[in-house]
Symmetry: D2
Subunit: 506 residues, 4 copies
């Protein structure tokens, strides 16, 4: 019988107590909570990247002579260390449908307070989209670098697994059923090769991320007008505005586009598609691990850590949390790609909604993908395959797993089709009672064609691996070739990359 309660608990309604600036720090998105990529994509990071874009634009304009260096320096000095509240900006962003309008007002005020002469040179000739798109590409580039680093770890760990288990036999499963034998090395090589592909394409894409510069509607008109008014000439007789595009790209370290891309959004859509492909690759890895650690299969163990995989109810539980997180990422990424693909059908010189719909999905895609790469590295580095359990499961069907091999060897005697039918009948009739292997050994048709010794050899699953080992070697060779050339290319690139914001020679 319930006792009397002493006091009425006052539990506030849901959501109550949320402070004014309360935020999302990953509580409902564990795949990325606390990972480097999360920290790289906060509102503060976006704000900082927008300031970087404004500073780089001023530097580029100073380099080509559109504004004095004193202005560029003043703008850089003002932006440096300046704290602008992202919550305030976020709310003012509702007025202009983007945060740059308010940011430019605040930055101009800051510069005007410290360097009055420079205030008029802030955001000169520019438009919100030049700044926001450039900032977004800077953050995407940074996130892709972090992701690439984690994919390097993933590949390196999987390379080790593939190599060490090149010849470890296990059951291959198709449509959830034991099919024929394979090796754990080939499974790992498959994960490796797919991760390798995703890694290479993300690295290639990263170098193509373009700077944005178009002015109010993609004609560079105000940049051109200011330059013309001040008698600034571009290189080779072209408009100074075109040179500005090139120098701006150098300043921020992004690629120079052929045209402004205010409403030509392939660069954004493509990044998101590649992230979704990568999430799919890691989702396949996670799905496979889940099936290996399943209680009844138990052919691998996820890396352990204190408290890892605990349940709030059951003491014995060691849940496969890393693979679950990878699967959760693969379920989310495709949808973000879909949004970005829809946003490509942008109207006119700047869309009224399609551009604005891009930002949050792209951010989510980058941080979920980043979290997935980080998680996959942890999983690949710590995954423990259990070859004993693999061998035990390989024997589970008592020989049925090599039924295809028996067909090969009976074909010359009874024909392929009849051999397949005959073994199908043996498999069906031996389902409940005696083992398939015994039934095969006792079968008159088989006995007539195959000697007991040969039959023993054929019925050994470990002997039916086909070209698995050679396929592992192919994948390893391919991986090493690409990894080496990437390193070499990076080393070569190292020496020649232009210093950002460098002074033009006098």
């Amino acid at each position: 019988m319930p006792e009397e309660r002493k006091e009425t608990p006052e539990h506030p309604g849901p959501g109550a107590g949320g402070p004014a600036g309360a935020r999302d720090a990953g509580l409902m998105s564990p795949i990325r909570a606390g990972t480097p990529v999360e920290a790289a994509l906060t509102d503060e990071a976006w704000l900082s990247a927008m300031l970087d874009a404004e500073v780089a634009l001023a530097c580029a304009q100073a380099r080509i002579g559109m504004i004095p260096w004193s202005s560029a320096d003043a703008i850089a000095a003002s932006a440096r260390g300046w704290r602008c509240d992202p919550v305030m900006l976020a709310r003012r962003a509702r007025e202009a449908a983007n945060p740059v309008v308010a940011l430019v007002q605040e930055l101009t005020r800051e510069v005007a307070g410290r360097y009055p002469d420079a205030a008029d040179d802030v955001h000169l000739g520019s438009t919100s989209q030049d700044i926001l798109d450039t900032a977004t590409m800077l953050l995407a580039a940074h996130a892709l670098d972090l992701i690439s680093d984690d994919l390097d770890r993933v590949c390196s760990a999987l390379e080790g697994l593939a190599e060490r288990h090149r010849d470890t036999p296990m059951a291959a499963r198709t449509l959830t059923q034991h099919a024929v034998p394979t090796t754990f090395g080939l499974k790992a090589a498959g994960w490796l090769h797919a991760a390798d592909g995703a890694r290479q394409r993300l690295k290639a894409l990263r170098t193509e991320l373009p700077v944005q510069l178009g002015g109010a509607a993609g004609t560079l008109a105000a940049y051109h007008e200011y330059a013309t008014l001040d008698g600034v000439k571009g290189r080779n007789g072209e408009s100074a505005a075109l040179e500005l595009m090139s120098v701006f790209a150098e300043e921020v370290g992004l690629a120079e586009p052929v045209l402004p891309w205010h409403s030509a959004r392939e660069p954004v859509a493509r990044v998101c598609c590649e992230l979704a492909v990568m999430a799919g690759v890691l989702g396949k890895f996670g799905t496979d691990v889940q099936n290996l650690v399943r209680t009844e299969v138990a052919e691998a163990v996820e890396p352990g850590a204190e408290g890892r995989g605990a349940s709030s109810a059951m003491p014995q539980k060691r849940n496969p949390v890393l693979s679950a997180l990878l699967v959760s990422a693969a379920l989310q990424l495709p949808s973000h790609a879909t949004v970005l693909l829809h946003c490509m059908a942008a109207e006119g010189e700047r869309s009224a909604g399609a551009w604005h719909a891009e930002w949050q999905p792209l951010r989510e895609a980058l941080r979920i993908a980043g979290g997935a790469a980080y998680t996959a590295a942890e999983l690949a580095e710590g995954l423990v395959p259990l070859s004993g359990a693999m061998a035990r499961n390989l024997a589970l069907t008592q020989g049925q797993i090599v039924a295809e091999r028996l067909v090969v060897h009976l074909r010359s005697a009874v024909g392929k089709a009849e051999a397949k039918r005959h073994l199908g009948r043996i498999a069906a009739s031996s389902a409940g009672g005696e083992s398939f292997a015994c039934a095969v050994r006792a079968d008159p048709v088989v006995r007539e064609s195959l000697s007991p010794d040969l039959l023993d050899e054929i019925l050994d699953p470990a002997g039916y691996q086909g070209a698995a080992g050679e396929l592992v070697d192919r994948a390893l060779t391919h991986h090493r070739l690409h990894t080496r050339s990437a390193s070499e290319a990076a080393a070569e690139r190292g020496g020649t990359r232009p210093e950002p914001c460098e002074r033009t020679p006098q």
Copy 2:
């Protein structure tokens, strides 16, 4: 020529400076920045709702006699005012793939520190999913209430527009071309009727949101075992665990499900689908407004506010930002629904990934939809239709817009098909030079059939509104009927709703 620069600006790399707990406060999602629904769905709100669920569970267990009221009171007192860091929890959530495991540890520690005897009654017999799903439904219910309130405002404002402009003529456009006349009232009535439908369905859905209670794997086993061990009996001879489900639902004010729904995720998927439908309805409203405010059309003006719609480049700009935000929401919502639909194919008694993929998309869906409802209310309440411009545009095709009406009147003379062909020829040949109306008036076939006076009448677009006015009346009547019955129903409900956490009589 560029001057020399005095000092090297040090602008840090993108993302640098992001503090450890840096977060997402809506900077990249202006549709919801600073809106009530955003504050209702922060990490802190989720944390608070999870505590609400733990407290309500304890109260429910006290009500049926599973634990003493002293424990329930102690847990409630401990949870009240307790500050648990969501960033810390978010990071520990990576270890268990959900935040409840760590939350229960921390809450137990807190209770143990203040009321040692009650610590063992925290989360008694429960599982992470009971707490997290219940918290999620509490937040969804709260968000749906906020959304319903904003949709009430939307409907009320559109009702006024439809009524005031019942007979204001304007051009209907199909496939971007002037088709026949319509009225602004009918357009507003269409927005109203669609918003009304979305509102009603969200309100209905809100009352169906279920509590979650299943225990480790949906059998209520530990609840049942504790109750049995303590000799607690349920009502009518059923297990006390079933009564617990019912009392728990009362405590939190959610519906009692027939079965635990750990891996039967219709409730979550359905909420997200309805939110996407609502976003589509408001996206259609936003799309229409965009086309009315288009420079060349100029038949309406978005509500103005200081700084609203400003450009960072162009002084004359008053961008239609509210409608742009509505369109941006409609582009994002469907994808979140897709994720939730995919997550329905959950494996076994709890999926390893599909459940975990739900939380963030559902949160995004709720806050974007909430932001859209809030924005739509602002737009609907302030939208200014310009009947003069509508009349001017109606005359733009110089009569072609009533060509269909001419067919009706020429049919008896020349047959419908020939009338249509004949007028098509007149329209085609008058494209460049004289007006269609003049050409029609001069046409021998027309002159033979229709008197000049009748022709004048026919050619007046304002006279060809069909049943537009009556359709507006239908929509208004339908709206008022539903609004009244909802109010009445709410009033009746008011008196009978059980007080949450009420004491069982002694």
Copy 3:
């Protein structure tokens, strides 16, 4: 060494040989190939439904006196048995972006040839969208009826499974790991309850499918004008065009909408969302079956049929093809819903693209969902659960599966948290060697608290089913209640439904 080849085989390039009217009959979509819903959604079916809509419109117009009955009869007689080539229409549909324009031309020609006086009354006052949307709703209604019938079979079969296996114990799995025991009956009851919900909602939705009638731009203007010109009055003083909407709805057996919905597309989006929810429900069923038939689990067998589940390579294979098809459907449906949700943001009185994007995804959604319901019925009716294997797997963790229950019983002695930690340690240390149950029996802490007899009882997994049986009963009761009320409602409806195309009394 390869021999010489006698002649060069000429295999034509891919796709060669495709005849002019070559088509898609389901070869790449086995989920629906040859099912009733496929036949109900062919191009011919759409063509036939469009003719039905034209005939019903003429009948409705005759009923209210807008056209003579002789015309309606002539149009009906011409449409009946008339063969119009859908391939030709499909190609001409590219000219108008919809097939109705060409269809009306052809039908008018057909009528003119047989009943010259009636030709002018074909499609009178109408617009393409009135016909196409009405046809689509007719087909959707028919498809939903077929789907409902198959869901009836699904529910009926699952009801039997739940009832027969109410108390059959098996392991519950969470995150792929054995959690606590459950029953196969509860699993089946979960499938039943979800299928039941989907079935009820689709049936409800089917009765709400609206007819479309709006005229050129949703004002009913030409209908109104023709009626006015002929002095036809509507009921109760309203426009005859409004009465036409009502009578047309009766004629085709669809609901009468409050407003024309040319660019208010909730009806279409909602159908697709519900189909996706249903596919998710059946996808969960399929996913669960896959995990039961997995070689290592083997707790169920899919219904067998000659050749069912065969592999082209392996003789022993019996692939779980029905569940694989269900999973394939659940992967496809959400995306079609996404398209329909995106199409809601339609511009003006008829969109230029969004309407046109709806048709094929809706068709795909209906036929895949229909195929899934058909397949699920086959699977549910033939699924063979294997209770022996379930019992064997329940013992696999040698007692760990009831570790939670041990916590319940040790709590009073050592506290809940310590009991959980202690059992966690035993589970971890017994992983490799002796069984968990032996370790528990030998543990001093346990021995001190629990007698050997009680321990035996606790360690029996079959004894720890919580309220599973009662939950099964709840689901069965709920199902039967809803099924009965639906039958009763149908019986009552039976007598009152208006005969379509009935003659108005003279």
Copy 4:
């Protein structure tokens, strides 16, 4: 009053009359109805491609000596001209969840009937997925070729438009509002550059499409076993099965993968992503055209053809049907990409559902994308820009469109920020009455800074095109460079591509 009706029309229920093999020939998908890509992707085409794969596999096996050439020739001769009913196969595909099992049975029967000795060499060592995936890649390659050809036409037409209208001034619109002037040439150059990018990437992707060869579970085991049994050795000491992979790739003209990719589905996902990007590019083109042809804008006309764009209701209508179809394609493609991305998380060596879910979405994606490319070519080649209307609209805001330019020129006098505010005020106050240009000319601040002559120059919109012309030149140069290198590369490739099915030298 309605007359009496003579007879009851019997219109059959919807869907009635659908013959047994009734199909989908594009009636509900006008974007692709009757286009070459549709004919290339029929069920018959898939069937034919699967036979091509079987024949090529036999040829490859003959080339390396695994089977006699007589068998390969017999299989090729049997497949050639053989008619297998796709409807029958589609239905039998439900039994195996794929059509290959039944196809192999039928083909084997066909071969056995004509060349008994060769029957055992049909599908030797192979698995369904080797055949179906290879066939799918063959069809994808063929479809990509057709698409590339149409994109060539698109680019060529847009090149002409960009060149001819390099300096044709028009209003740029951002967020639906006039922003600053641009040129039609730059708009066309933007379409060109995006189409160019899509084209290049699809061409690159086409060369990477891999053949599939893995055997039952990706180890090539049966191929290896047959070769070993017959003493066939591979090149360089590797397994003959690896050589088979290489020779098979040559035979069908697809790329040789590093590993079998039965459950590593990037190739498929990537194709679909690129198709979606292409559809987005063309959707942007379509969206822009829609806005140019809008009644109030009227700056362009879609290519006319007899009956093109007709309405079933309104005689005057010339609907922009080509752009509407492009928009409808862009709305559908992203969702198909989503499905393919979800399918990447495939389990084990062959998934039970994810593979099966790929086929129909990929087919839909290919044929909708192909229809879009075809339609875009028609639109680009026939689009008529109207420079007179562009000039007229440019003047619509009476000077506001160059307000940004006025800021540039007033900056030195009053400061940039003040100039922007000042012009904003003038724009706001001149909204209703006198023109902005007049107000500017009369404004004392302006008059003080700018001479009347300079003001005239500044206020001429045609003079404020920024670097538009130079940007057009950049895009044209880039396009021509890429087009030339592609042609050259193709020419070089021409001479060296290996003849498919070539005889190995004796």
